[in-house]
C-alpha cells in the first residue's frame, strides 16, 4: 500500500459528468480548442525553421487584413458550408452519407446539363441549373436511402460505392459527349456569363456565398426551429423510442436524406457555376470528407458548421501561402490542419465533463 500512500501527497484529477453546458460556454470551448491547436502548430512551424515574425505576418496580417485573402477564405468556405450542412442533416437522422462527392458530381452534372443544352430562357437559366443540381443530388442519394429503409442495406457502403459510379460516369461524359469542343480538353465547355454566379462586386466574392447563407438559414430553421428538427433529435438519440412514441422515423429519415442529397447537389452547382465556370474532372475532390469532418466538429449544428467551415477554409488558404512562400511541404500543412482538427474534437471532452483538481 506504499504506492497508494505516496500518491496521496499529490492529489489527483477528478472527472465529473456535466448536466449540460450553456451555448456560449460551448463556443468558448470550441475557440479554446482552435487556440490550443494553433499554439501547437506554431511550435512545430518554429521548430521547422519558419520565423515567428513570418508566421504572425502570414496568419494575422496576411489572412485577416488583406481583402484578397478574406474574400479567398469566404469563397472557399461557401461550398464547404453547403457540404457541411449536407453531412450534418444526414447524420442527424443517423444516415451516414459518405456519398457526398457522388452527389456533388451529379449536382454539377444536373447544372451542366441545363447549361450546355441551353434549357430555358437565359434569365431563368441559373435557377433552372440550381434546380437540376438539387434534383441530381437527390437522385443520387435516393437509391441508397431506399435500400437502407426497405432492405436494411448499410448506407455507409452503398453511398461510398455510389461515389465511384458517379466519378466514372463523370469521366465518361467529359471524355465523350460533353468534351469541350473548343479545346478538346476533358472538361465541359465554359458556361455563358448568365450561367455563372454573379460577382458581388467585392474582390472575388460571388452569389454562391449568398446561396450558402440562404441554405444555412433554411437548415437552421429545419433542424433547430421547426417541428421536424425536434423529431429528428429523437431519431438521432433513440430511434426505437421515437418510433414507439409515434415519430415517423422512416419518413423523416427519407426527408433528411433527400435534403442532404439536394444540398450536396447544390454544392456541385456552386462550385461549377461559381468557381470553375465549367465542369472539370476534379472539381469535387475533397469535399466529401471535408463535409463529414465539418459536420462532425460542429456536432451537426448549422451555425457551428458555418464557424468550422470558415476555420477549415482559413487553414486551406493559409496552407497554400505557407507552401508557396516558405517552402513548407504539403505534408506539414496537412499535419497542422489535422492538429487543429484534433484539438477542436478534443474540446468536446470538456463540454461533456468537468475536470477538477482535488487534493
Amino acid at each position: 500500500m506504499s504506492d497508494i500512500a505516496r500518491a496521496r501527497r499529490f492529489g489527483r484529477i477528478n472527472l465529473e459528468i456535466r448536466d449540460d453546458m450553456p451555448m456560449w460556454k460551448q463556443s468558448l470551448a470550441f475557440l479554446a480548442g482552435v487556440a490550443a491547436g494553433l499554439v501547437i502548430s506554431v511550435v512545430i512551424l518554429l521548430v521547422s525553421g519558419v520565423g515567428l515574425a513570418a508566421l504572425l505576418n502570414e496568419f494575422v496580417v496576411f489572412i485577416f487584413t488583406s481583402p484578397k485573402n478574406i474574400s479567398g477564405v469566404l469563397v472557399q468556405a461557401g461550398p464547404l458550408i453547403i457540404v457541411g450542412l449536407s453531412a450534418g442533416i444526414a447524420f442527424k437522422a443517423r444516415f451516414w452519407n459518405i456519398g457526398i462527392e457522388g452527389q456533388v458530381i451529379f449536382g454539377a452534372i444536373g447544372a451542366t446539363l441545363v447549361a450546355i443544352n441551353d434549357i430555358g430562357p437565359p434569365s431563368l437559366r441559373l435557377p433552372l441549373m440550381a434546380f437540376f443540381a438539387a434534383l441530381g443530388g437527390m437522385m443520387w442519394i435516393l437509391l441508397p436511402t431506399i435500400l437502407k429503409l426497405r432492405l436494411r442495406i448499410n448506407e455507409i457502403i452503398s453511398t461510398l460505392l455510389m461515389n465511384y459510379i458517379a466519378f466514372n460516369f463523370l469521366l465518361h461524359l467529359l471524355y465523350g459527349p460533353w468534351q469541350d469542343p473548343v479545346s478538346s480538353f476533358p472538361h465541359s465547355e465554359q458556361f455563358e456569363d448568365f450561367e455563372r454566379l454573379a460577382p458581388l462586386g467585392w474582390q472575388s466574392l460571388n452569389t454562391s456565398l449568398l446561396i450558402a447563407v440562404a441554405l444555412v438559414i433554411f437548415c437552421f430553421w429545419f433542424m433547430v426551429k421547426s417541428r421536424f428538427g425536434f423529431q429528428l433529435n429523437f431519431v438521432h438519440s433513440n430511434a426505437q423510442m421515437a418510433k414507439a412514441l409515434g415519430v415517423r422515423v422512416a419518413a423523416l429519415t427519407l426527408t433528411a436524406a433527400l435534403i442532404s442529397g439536394a444540398l450536396s447537389g447544390l454544392a456541385g452547382f456552386a462550385i461549377s457555376a461559381g468557381i470553375e465556370s465549367r465542369m472539370t474532372q476534379s472539381f469535387f475532390i475533397g469535399y466529401g470528407f471535408s463535409g463529414i469532418l465539418i459536420a462532425f466538429l460542429a456536432r451537426n449544428n448549422p451555425l457551428g458548421i458555418v464557424a468550422v467551415s470558415i476555420l477549415v477554409a482559413t487553414l486551406m488558404i493559409a496552407g497554400q501561402s505557407l507552401q508557396v512562400f516558405y517552402q513548407i511541404p504539403f505534408a506539414m500543412v496537412q499535419l497542422i490542419q489535422a492538429i487543429i482538427v484534433i484539438c477542436v474534437a478534443a474540446s468536446e471532452f470538456f463540454i461533456r465533463h468537468r475536470v477538477r483538481w482535488v487534493e
Binding site: M1, D20, R227, F230, K243, V358
Partner: protein
C-alpha cells in the same frame, strides 16, 4: 467526528456499540457532495466477514453513492475507509480491486460479442493470452461451482439473458479475487424466480467467507435474505437493525420517514369494452411464434391485469399493442376508431393510447436529450407547442416545469439536463407525466414498478388508479403478482403466448399461481 476537508483520518475508531468484532470493511463518517447537493452526509457503514448486509433505501437515498465510494469510483470529500481494521486509501477502482473489493453495477460492463471467458479475462488480464484463457476458465468453473451458477462459457455474452449476464459480472469480481462483494440493486432487473435463485447464490457466497453488501430497495429481500439491514434516507444512515427484530411496516417507516401502505380499491364504474384483442398471433423478428390465439377485452374504468411468468410473450404483446410489431393473425379494436390492427404508433397515440414500457431507456426516453424535450415530445407530436413552422420552446419549458412539479420528478437540476441522469424512479415519473399529459383513454403499463422504491411505486400506482377512475381502460402487464393483485379489477393469466384463464378481483393468489405455471 470532524476531520479536515479532503483528509483521510488516520485513527481507527471502534465500531458501533453492538459490534465487537473487527469488520471486514468499515466506512467512517463518509461525506460526499456533488455541487450543492449533499449525497452522503457523515455516513457510517460496516460489513462483517461472512455476512449479507442489506443496504436499504429509496432511489436517491445515497446507497449507490456510498458503495461507489467503497469501490473507488467516487472520492469521498471527507471520511475514512478501513479494511480489517486498517485505514486504507482507495483512489480508484484498481485500488479497490487490490484490496479485494468488487462491485457489480446496475448497468453491466460487458463486451457483447465476446464470450464469458473472454469477458472475465479482459477484466483480469495477466500473462500470456492462451495460458490465461485456460487459467481463467478453470477459475470460473471453480467459482461457479462455489455459488451454484450455471453459465455457458462459450456463448457470446450478448446472446445470454439478463440474469446470465449478471452471473458473468459476479463471476468477474470473484475471479478477480474479491472477498468484499457489493451488489447494486441486483434483483431490480430480474424476474421473481431469477431473483430468488440469485439470493440463494448470495447466501452461498457469504457462507464461503465473503462479505456481501446488498444494495436494494426491496423490503422482503432484505428481511428474508440478509443478516443485518442498514437503512438510508436522504444521504444519512437511519439505523442498522437485525431482520428478526423488525417488521415490513417498521422498515417502510424508516425508509420513507412515514408509513406507506397501498390499499386495494376496486373500480366503481366500468363502462363498455374500450380495447378488444381478438385471436392475435405474432412472430418475433427471428420467425419464432410468440403469441397465439390471444384474446381479451378491457372496459373503460377498469384495470385489466395480465399476470404471468416472464418470457411468456409479455414484451411482444406490449409491442403489438403499441403498434411496433404487426400481428400475423387476429385483430385489435378500439371503441370509436374501430379496427386498429394496422394503425401506426402515431395513429394509435392520436386515438388516446398511452404506453409505459418496461424498458424505459429503450422505449420511453431519449437519454441524450433534455428532460424538457423528453416531456414535450408527446405534446409536439399531437400538435401542441407552436406550429410545424416554429416550435414554442418557452411554453415547452414552462409546461415541463409544471409537470415535473406535479408528478414530483426529483433530481431535475436544470431545464437542459439530460434525461439519462435521472434515477429510475424519477425517469419513470417523467414518462408517466408525459404519457398522462394527453388524457389517454387507454393506458398500457408494462412492469411499471420495476426498479422503483416503495414511495415511487406507490406514486406510479396512484397515477394508474386515477387514470382508471377518470374512465381510462388500463392494461397492466406485470410479472410482480403483488402488483397485479393490488391494482387489477380483472386478471388474465398469460402462459405460452396466450391468456389461459381470467379471474375477477379479488382473486385467489394460489389459483392465479397455478394458472401461471401449469396448464389449466
Amino acid at each position: 467526528m470532524t476531520t479536515g476537508p479532503g483528509r483521510i483520518s488516520a485513527h481507527a475508531e471502534s465500531g458501533p456499540a453492538h459490534d465487537p468484532a473487527v469488520p471486514a470493511l468499515a466506512l467512517r463518517s463518509i461525506t460526499k457532495s456533488f455541487g450543492d447537493f449533499v449525497a452522503l452526509d457523515d455516513v457510517d457503514f460496516d460489513l462483517r466477514s461472512g455476512e449479507v448486509h442489506a443496504l436499504l433505501g429509496e432511489n436517491g437515498a445515497g446507497k449507490s453513492s456510498l458503495m461507489n465510494v467503497a469501490a473507488g469510483l467516487y472520492a469521498a470529500d471527507r471520511g475514512a475507509i478501513e479494511i480489517a481494521g486498517q485505514t486504507v486509501s482507495i483512489r480508484g477502482p484498481s485500488d479497490a480491486q487490490s484490496l479485494r473489493i468488487g462491485m457489480v453495477h446496475q448497468h453491466y460492463k460487458l463486451v457483447m460479442p465476446f464470450n464469458t471467458v473472454e469477458n472475465i479475462l479482459l477484466a483480469n488480464a495477466a500473462g500470456g493470452y492462451r495460458q490465461s484463457l485456460q487459467r481463467v476458465r478453470e477459475l470460473i468453473s471453480e467459482k461457479a461451482d462455489l455459488v451454484g451458477f450455471e453459465v455457458d462459457l462459450d456463448k457470446p455474452v450478448g446472446a445470454l439473458s439478463i440474469a446470465e449476464q449478471q452471473r458473468v459480472e459476479i463471476l468477474k469480481v470473484l475471479v478477480a479475487g474479491a472477498n468484499i462483494i457489493i451488489l447494486d440493486e441486483p434483483t431490480a432487473v430480474l424476474t421473481d424466480e431469477e431473483g430468488q435463485r440469485l439470493l440463494e447464490a448470495i447466501r452461498k457466497l457469504a457462507e464461503s467467507g465473503c462479505s456481501v453488501a446488498l444494495v436494494t430497495h426491496n423490503l422482503n429481500e432484505s428481511l428474508m435474505h440478509s443478516d443485518r439491514i442498514t437503512v438510508m434516507r436522504n444521504g444519512k444512515v437511519v439505523d442498522t437493525v437485525l431482520p428478526d427484530a423488525v417488521t415490513g411496516p417498521d422498515l417502510t417507516r424508516m425508509i420513507v420517514g412515514e408509513s406507506i401502505v397501498e390499499k386495494r380499491h376496486l373500480s366503481t364504474v366500468t363502462g363498455k369494452p374500450r380495447l378488444t384483442v381478438r385471436k392475435v398471433a405474432a412472430r418475433r423478428a427471428d420467425g419464432l411464434p410468440v403469441l397465439s390465439d390471444l384474446s381479451f377485452d378491457v372496459r373503460s374504468g377498469e384495470i385489466y391485469g395480465i399476470a404471468g411468468v416472464g418470457g411468456n410473450g409479455q414484451s411482444e404483446l406490449v409491442e403489438v399493442l403499441m403498434g411496433l410489431l404487426p400481428p400475423s393473425e387476429g385483430h385489435l379494436y378500439l371503441d370509436g376508431p374501430g379496427d386498429i390492427t394496422l394503425a401506426r404508433s402515431d395513429e394509435r397515440r392520436r386515438f388516446g393510447v398511452a404506453c409505459i414500457p418496461a424498458d424505459r431507456q429503450g422505449y420511453a426516453l431519449a437519454g441524450d436529450l433534455s428532460v424538457s424535450d423528453n416531456y414535450a415530445i408527446g405534446g409536439v407530436l399531437s400538435g401542441k407547442y407552436g406550429s410545424w413552422m416554429r416550435l414554442d420552446r418557452k411554453t415547452m419549458t414552462r409546461a415541463t416545469r409544471s409537470a415535473v412539479k406535479k408528478y414530483d420528478v426529483q433530481g431535475v437540476r436544470s431545464d437542459g439536463q439530460r434525461s439519462a441522469l435521472l434515477s429510475g424512479g424519477n425517469a419513470q415519473k417523467l414518462v408517466i407525466a408525459r404519457e398522462f399529459s394527453g388524457d389517454p383513454t387507454v393506458v398500457i403499463a408494462h412492469s411499471p414498478n420495476r426498479g422503483l422504491d416503495v414511495r415511487a411505486s406507490a406514486a406510479v400506482h396512484g397515477h394508474l388508479l386515477s387514470a382508471r377512475d377518470a374512465g381510462a381502460a388500463v392494461v397492466l402487464i406485470s410479472e410482480d403478482l403483488d402488483e397485479i393483485l393490488l391494482l387489477s379489477d380483472r386478471i388474465g393469466v398469460m402462459n405460452s403466448g396466450t391468456i389461459v384463464s381470467e379471474f375477477d378481483a379479488p382473486a385467489d393468489r394460489h389459483d392465479i399461481g397455478k394458472a401461471m405455471v401449469g396448464h389449466v
